[in-house]
């Protein structure tokens, strides 16, 4: 029990003293997670809208595939991305292996089905009377789409937050594609894994606290936006 208490105390010291290794991992995580979240929202939002709003042939099959992708293990995505961007892979020349960009690509693949599925479900659950109301108020197709999206803005925000939470806490892709290189591609989660393996619980707890704090701030922001 003592080592946990000591770990928390050291964690606070590490964070307040501005320990370079700790803060580099924090910034790398924020950078890569924000980037992949934005990319996945950018791609997943329109795809989710199309899937939720329109009826077309094969829609059910796409939903099934999407639901399967939701359960995709991060190590598998890591493996697949690794295979593509490693020197022998088709994208080997781009030099993305062991870079933050490489991790961001993998995390975007992880978050995309989450954003798409939640957006599609949110759009599907739009009150049927909304469309009728908009038509009866004289809205054209463009206005109907824009207003529908605005009406479900909290659902879409929730999708983005969930995607952020997922990429923030994943370890498989960051480890395999990033390589856990100190001061370069080490993220909070890979650092925790490493420090715990080394028996350095304090460092692990410090980084864990940062993760929880980020998650708390993100959810607090969502709650604030909801109130506005």
């Amino acid at each position: 029990m003592d080592f946990i208490v000591a770990g928390v105390a050291k964690a606070i010291a590490l964070l307040t003293s501005g320990d370079a290794a700790t803060w580099t991992a924090v910034f790398a995580t924020l950078k890569v997670s924000t980037c992949s979240m934005l990319l996945s929202v950018g791609a997943g939002l329109p795809c989710g809208f199309v899937l939720g709003y329109f009826d077309f042939k094969g829609k059910k099959h796409i939903r099934t595939i999407l639901d399967t992708l939701l359960a995709l293990p991060t190590v598998f995505i890591g493996l697949a991305v690794y295979a593509f961007i490693s020197r022998q892979g088709p994208l080997g020349d781009l030099g993305l292996l062991f870079t933050l960009t490489g991790i961001a690509i993998g995390q975007t693949i992880l978050a995309f089905p989450i954003v798409t599925a939640i957006t599609a479900a949110t759009i599907e659950n739009i009150d049927h009377d909304l469309k009728l109301t908009l038509v009866s108020l004289g809205a054209g197709k463009r206005h109907i789409i824009a207003t529908c999206l605005w009406e479900v803005r909290y659902g879409i925000l929730a999708a983005a937050v969930m995607a952020y939470g997922r990429v923030l806490t994943e370890v498989g892709i960051s480890m395999m594609v990033g390589g856990n290189i100190k001061y370069h591609t080490r993220t909070i989660t890979t650092a925790i894994a490493l420090e715990t393996n080394k028996g350095l619980f304090a460092d692990g707890i410090a980084l864990g606290l940062v993760l929880i704090t980020i998650a708390f701030i993100v959810n607090l922001s969502l709650s604030f936006l909801r109130k506005q």
């Binding site: 009377d129 009728l132 009866s136 108020l137």
Partner: protein, 342 residues
């Protein structure tokens, strides 16, 4: 001389949900600047008809002429002219001001916006200062209904379609919605079609009533519907036995259909049964309610024959000569041949 086209002319309309036919209208005209009341039980097709009139849905078959021109959903010509207030109004997740101003904003008509929102809210009895900044979830059912009404009135539509506008509002809101509807006609000649279960309210506002049952329109207003089961009698006759022992005898339908319609005009009212049996059907009942048809001065009387409800349109003369009042026991008479099957 050219005759003025009606606001709506529906021709040979059939509408299906899947394989189920929900609306069957051979022809229906709705005159401009009229107020039409739509009466019918739940699931009879009122909402579907209003959606068709709002051009929110295309009929499976048939043509809807709006002022003489065939129109379809999303036609820009019609979009800004016809508006529908649904039974459960949907308010956008914004303030009351934003909700009321939405229709004008999408038309890029922002001229004197605040003043117009203020007037629209005032028409439905809502104070601008108090309600304009409120969020959609800070309103009661009646207030939400009135905000939705204001959002339509501000557009000064040529046609205002109201689906059960007073179903979940208090008496005060019902009166305000009624006054606002009448003002819409007075001020800019709006045509109104209103579906409501509240007959007293509907008769107080409408110039004409249409009744709808199983998707069939009766342009003569409420008619008397008798649903099965019917028992096969002798010689092309079917009978409906009521639990109190009374029997309704009707000419059997040509096809196997189960809903009989007895028109109001075919039924006469008396205080005693006739001995000569010139009417095959002489049914004892009791007057349940009487409503004044404001425009004509006629009285719509609802008479309960055991568990069946009949409606008759009576003249003030009939009322006074028979001394009719709610609760009085009466006899309804009609011939077995006075039946239409739908």
């Amino acid at each position: 001389m050219t005759t003025k086209e009606p606001a709506y002319h529906l021709n040979d309309i059939r509408h299906y949900y899947g394989d189920t036919k929900v609306l069957e209208i051979d022809t229906l005209k709705i005159e401009e600047s009229s107020i039409t009341g739509l009466i019918g039980p739940n699931g009879s097709g009122k909402t579907t008809l209003l959606k068709l009139l709002a051009f929110a849905v295309k009929p499976t078959r048939g043509i809807i002429l709006y002022k003489g021109r065939p129109e379809v959903p999303f036609s820009p010509a019609i979009r800004s002219k016809v508006t529908l207030l649904t039974q459960k109004p949907y308010l956008l997740k914004r303030t009351v001001f934003e909700n009321v101003a939405y229709g004008l904003k999408i038309r890029k008509d922002k001229n004197r916006l605040e003043e117009r929102v203020k007037n629209a809210l005032l028409t439905v009895g809502l104070d601008f200062q108090k309600f304009a900044p409120r969020k959609w979830h800070e309103l009661s059912g009646g207030e939400a209904q009135r905000v939705a009404m204001a959002a339509r009135l501000i557009l000064k539509p040529e046609v205002l379609l109201l689906d059960e506008p007073i179903a979940s509002v208090d008496t005060e809101s019902a009166g305000l919605i009624r006054d606002a509807s009448l003002k819409a006609r007075e001020n800019w000649g709006a045509t109104l079609v209103i579906a409501s279960h509240d007959l007293q309210w509907l008769y107080s506002i409408s110039d004409r009533q249409l009744s709808i049952f199983n998707g069939n329109i009766f342009s003569t207003g409420m008619e008397n519907i008798i649903t099965g089961p019917f028992e096969q009698g002798d010689d092309k006759i079917v009978v409906k036995k009521l639990d109190d022992g009374q029997i309704i005898t009707l000419t059997a339908p040509e096809k196997k259909t189960g809903i009989a319609v007895i028109r109001k005009k075919s039924i006469s009212i008396d205080l005693e049964k006739q001995a000569d049996q010139s009417f095959l059907n002489q049914l004892s009942g009791q007057i349940a309610s009487m409503l004044l048809e404001k425009k004509t001065g006629h009285i719509m009387a609802t008479i309960y024959i055991h568990d069946l409800s009949f409606v008759l349109r009576l003249t003030p003369g009939q009322i006074s000569s028979l001394d009719l009042y709610p609760g009085k026991k009466v006899i309804l008479k009609f011939q077995s041949t006075d039946v239409e099957w739908i």
